[in-house]
Each structure stands twice: as C-alpha cells, then as structure tokens.
C-alpha cells in the first residue's frame, strides 16, 4: 500500500518570495509517479507538476520545481516568485498502477 504524508497543514509566503511545501511517501513499488495538484477555492483539481520515479532529474514547470529524493522518499515542491494566484490547497500524490493516493494537503496563503 502507498501512503503520502504532508506535515505542513498551512504555509504562508510573501508575494514574490519562494516557498517549499514538503511531502514524504512510502511505497514498496519501484515504478511510480509523483504529483503535485493545486486545488483553488473552486475545488477543481489542477495538475501542477509530475515526476517519474525512474528519472533522477528533478521536474520543473515554469516557477514550480520539485526536489525529488528517492532514497529518502521525499518529494517537495518549490514555488518561486509566488503570486496571489498561487494561494490554494496543494496535494501531493503517488500512483503506481491504477489509482492516486493523496496526502492530506497544505493550505498555501500568499500575502501581498
């Protein structure tokens, strides 16, 4: 079984600053994908970034990047140059074959 732990229920960042959201996971599988999803107040699930476990290079997507530490089973999300529109709930998730398993989420607040 897979588990995902997000230890930060809530984080705050000043506009234009950088923030890192933490995520650790556990799986016995060797082949898996990791994801960060953003959920704004509309509650739509928006894919932010994904990482294949077999790739050593950290994924980046514009202002979003991850720090993937496979041995430590850690998958943190860094948001650079934070914007007001980044304020949302962020979920870390893992999938092996057939389903996503989500963490409890981190609420990100962005201060102007």
């Amino acid at each position: 079984a897979q588990t995902v732990t997000q230890s930060q229920p809530e984080m705050s960042v000043q506009e234009a600053e950088t923030v890192t959201l933490s995520c650790t996971y556990d799986t016995s599988e060797s082949d898996y994908y990791l994801f960060w999803y953003k959920q704004p107040p509309s509650r739509q699930m928006i894919l932010v970034i994904r990482q294949e476990a077999y790739k050593q290079q950290n994924a980046t997507e514009n202002r979003f990047s991850v720090n993937f530490q496979k041995a430590a089973k850690s998958f943190s999300l860094k948001i650079s140059d934070s914007q007001l529109g980044d304020a949302a709930m962020y979920f870390c998730a893992i999938t092996t074959r057939d389903k996503l398993v989500f963490g409890a989420g981190t609420i990100l607040r962005v201060k102007s």
């Binding site: 994908y33 509650r43 739509q44 699930m45 092996t96 074959r97 057939d98 389903k99 989500f102 963490g103």
Partner: protein
C-alpha cells in the same frame, strides 16, 4: 485541451434517496475513476473502471455504490440510498493508458445530503 465533464455541478438530495452523478470522460480514454473529497479533507479513491468492469475499489465503495458506462460516452456513479456522510465533492477522472502519466479530473459534483 480536452476536458472531463461532470453534471450536475451541485446536487442536493434527501437522506435515503438515490442519486446518479454523471461524467463524460475524454473520448479516447480507456480508464475511468471516481474520487471523493469530504469538505476540508483529502481526496480519496473510490473506484477504477476499465473494459466495462471495476478494476479496483476502496473500502468506501460499499454495496450502496455502483458504477456504469451505459453507452460509449457516459460514466455514472450511483448511490442507492444516500446517507448524511455521503455529502462530499465527487470527482470523475480518466486517462488514456495505464501509465498514469496524467490523470484528467473533471470539475466535480458537490453532493449535499440533507
């Protein structure tokens, strides 16, 4: 970009009533899912569906729940006799292959059981 469509966006029902939540997955997708999110909690897997049958289901997905793909486009979730604790946002999702490179989520149906 293609979208997964869910209707209605909000459904209110009385406890004990049957509800059907509807989803139209992306047309060339083969794998379909329902997830649930109780307000303020994490998103939870309910069921996966492939080749006209359930491939996996969670403990939440008991005998009160069923899924169906009645035609080539719709994918439905039925709750036979709703309970107060079924109140949640229900997300439909799909993807074209089993590789799970990207799961496409619909915008959700908020179910309120009174």
């Amino acid at each position: 970009e293609p979208e997964v469509t869910q209707t209605p966006s909000h459904q209110v029902t009385q406890m004990g009533q049957e509800v059907i939540l509807r989803c139209v997955p992306i047309s060339n997708h083969l794998y379909f899912y329902w997830y649930r999110q109780i307000l303020g909690q994490k998103v939870e897997f309910l069921v996966s569906f492939y080749n006209n049958e359930i491939s996996e289901k969670s403990e939440i997905f008991d005998d009160q729940f069923s899924v169906e793909r009645p035609d080539g486009s719709n994918f439905t979730l039925k709750i036979r006799s709703t309970k107060l604790e079924d109140s949640a946002m229900y997300f439909c999702a799909s993807h074209p292959t089993r590789s799970n490179e990207k799961l496409f989520f619909g915008s959700g149906t908020q179910l309120s059981v009174l």
